[in-house]
Symmetry: C2
Subunit: 357 residues, 2 copies
DNA sequence: CTGTTAGCGCTTTCAC
DNA sequence: GTGAAAGCGCTAACAG
């Protein structure tokens, strides 16, 4: 029988709890496990990552020791040490309040979770300044990948990302010059397609209502698509109404804006978001404007509510969850050195429903 | 003039990029900054955290060097080193798809962000097994605090949390024996209050429809509140209908379940979620059941849609965002060693609207 | 199969 | 005002 050796490092340190905070956190270190198992830390480390290289008997003792101590490996230390990555992906979205971004997060999460990666989430509130601040702050955490919303950003943010060389996926739009990779669709084309479709249904005076497009590049691209389609079709472009604050759309805004839009005598209104469109459908009921007979209404995103409201809403379907999932898959591929597409186009589709004729 | 010293550590290492991955990440180290500024790392470190202890002139040189190199401090190393914390808070929620949890995340995020803490987000999908796995996995990242949803969990998860001593906030329910702290309200009392209120409006046959309550403790507590209220009031308890999968409520489920519930000839239905209730309102329109004349409908959560649907929905309002915010404030207080309440009760309110008489 | 050595990038003493 | 030494907890490489 061999003598149980005592692994000394840290043991002789009088106050190895110096990092302890007021809440009294105390995680056992690997040394403690090694000690109990009568081996060195190295063997414990191996038992955890290459169990096949450790004697079955030793392995058993180590597992017992882990159980006894309630040991949880310190991933921070692992990441710092040679060859370790943080196993962390950072996602920056405007707000998780918006269902489409929540979807994207779920998709992303489900792609990276099984691979042992965790999600660091930041909300920019549609603010570029905030995004810049978050990029810098999150980069300090050495994420192995960064997922961003949209394709336009400050030079500062862009430079930082490029210099550090982190894999980056920009989402929810396409561009030929991404920082690194893009996963999305053309908001311009999607809006063009919807506008064209509305015209095809016989609508002649199609209005467009956007959120605060100053803050939202995607909404701006949609507006451009609307304009271009009408121009190509030789139809009149009505005054474009922009809903003010806040950046995240609210149902009531759609209802509130309706009277103003109606001044232009449109026969259809294309909203930049289902949220506004649904609000407008409710508003139309109050004003006794029949939809779709007197007024066609179309939205964007195909939120769950679009297929439940009466009348059901014609809208552009975008696979929000898939955007996140693909972004996750691509960034993981990149991290592992596997080939990853620089551009993944996600198809949108027009959902024709009852709110248009 | 003094000679520029060369800080050696790491410089002589031939392959200090060994940790480099295929994507070619390369973050400059503090040593590089020190080098350029002609000082040691120690001075750079000080310049970053105690600038007042560094000569203004040196400070300037260091800032220039930081700018040139594009240096971003390594928070991982900082956390590992003495006195450092991870400045990370972990939140585990069932799903970010559900607006109430998204709200909580936003509230939490806004509470911890300004203090330099970042959010590690995990979705459990209403699964206890998944929650356990995530608790262990996230604990490896040494979060300074953990926010959990609900107050019931596996012994394993609970033990792990207690042993490690991380500050924990459980949310969305109350309990007299939290792991550490709780921020929420009594789902039982809230459902009791709504049931009582419905009875007060003259409803005699009140049905209750729940989601898959097997998975959702909060829904179960609401059911208990419904039962207790009816018992106290001497009113009949109808067969409780439970909607099957999936765990996260969908609008169509509310409509689909309606015929089955109607078999019991209720004069009011209390749904465990606004989502179902809104679906049911739509369904009622299709079946020409007039709400609230023939049937009262009540929901839970007061989602945005509740005040927009026609008729507007009577529901229980719960400040979802505030739950997250308070949870964040409390956990930060705890981390800093300031007094933090073990139990924070968040008030719910009955919102009487048009879907009930 | 297991141990020793040498860092990962930063920060906290304690000298100078 | 600045530097040197030591260590946070873990792991890759090389010995034995």
């Amino acid at each position: 029988m061999r003598r149980v050796k005592c692994y000394e490092t840290g043991m002789k340190k009088p106050n190895h709890h110096s990092a302890q905070d007021h809440s009294g956190q105390s995680f056992p270190r690997m040394a403690e496990v090694a000690n109990r198992a009568g081996v060195t830390v190295m063997t414990v480390s191996r038992a955890l990552r290459n169990p096949e290289k450790v004697a079955p008997n030793t392995l058993k003792k180590i597992h017992v020791a882990i159980e006894q101590t309630g040991y949880v490996p310190n991933a921070l230390a692992g990441a710092l040490s040679a060859g370790g990555g943080s196993r962390t992906i950072t996602a920056l979205i405007p707000t998780v309040q918006h269902a489409i971004f929540a979807d994207t997060i779920t998709g992303l999460s489900s792609a990276i979770g099984p691979e042992g990666y965790h999600l660091l989430l930041g909300e920019t509130g549609y603010s570029r300044t905030e995004e810049d601040a978050l990029i810098a702050a999150f980069l300090a955490r050495r994420p192995e990948g960064v997922i961003l919303t949209g394709v336009t950003r400050s030079t500062r943010g862009r430079d930082l990302l490029i210099r550090t060389g982190v894999p980056v996926v920009e989402t929810w739009e396409l561009t030929s010059s991404p920082i690194d990779m893009v996963v999305g669709y053309s908001n311009l084309k999607a809006a063009y397609a919807m506008t064209e479709w509305l015209a095809g249904r016989g609508y002649k005076r199609i209005a467009f209502v956007s959120g605060p497009s100053r803050l939202n590049e995607r909404a701006r691209r949609r507006e451009a698509g609307y304009r271009r389609a009408l121009k190509d079709l030789g139809l009149p472009i009505l005054d474009i109404i922009s809903i003010g604050a806040p950046a995240a759309p609210r149902l009531e805004d759609g209802a509130a804006i309706l009277p103003e839009v109606m001044l232009q005598k449109p026969d259809a209104i294309f909203f930049t978001s289902d949220i506004y469109a649904v609000g407008a459908i409710q508003g139309a009921k109050n004003f006794k404007i029949s939809v779709p007979e007197k007024l066609g209404i179309a939205g964007f995103h195909d939120l769950p509510i679009a297929s439940v409201i009466t009348p059901t809403l014609t809208t552009v379907h975008v696979p929000s969850r898939e955007i996140g999932y693909i972004a996750g898959r691509n960034i993981l591929a990149r991290i592992k050195g596997e080939p990853a597409p620089q551009l993944s186009a996600i198809p949108f589709t027009i959902k024709a429903r009852e709110s248009t004729r």
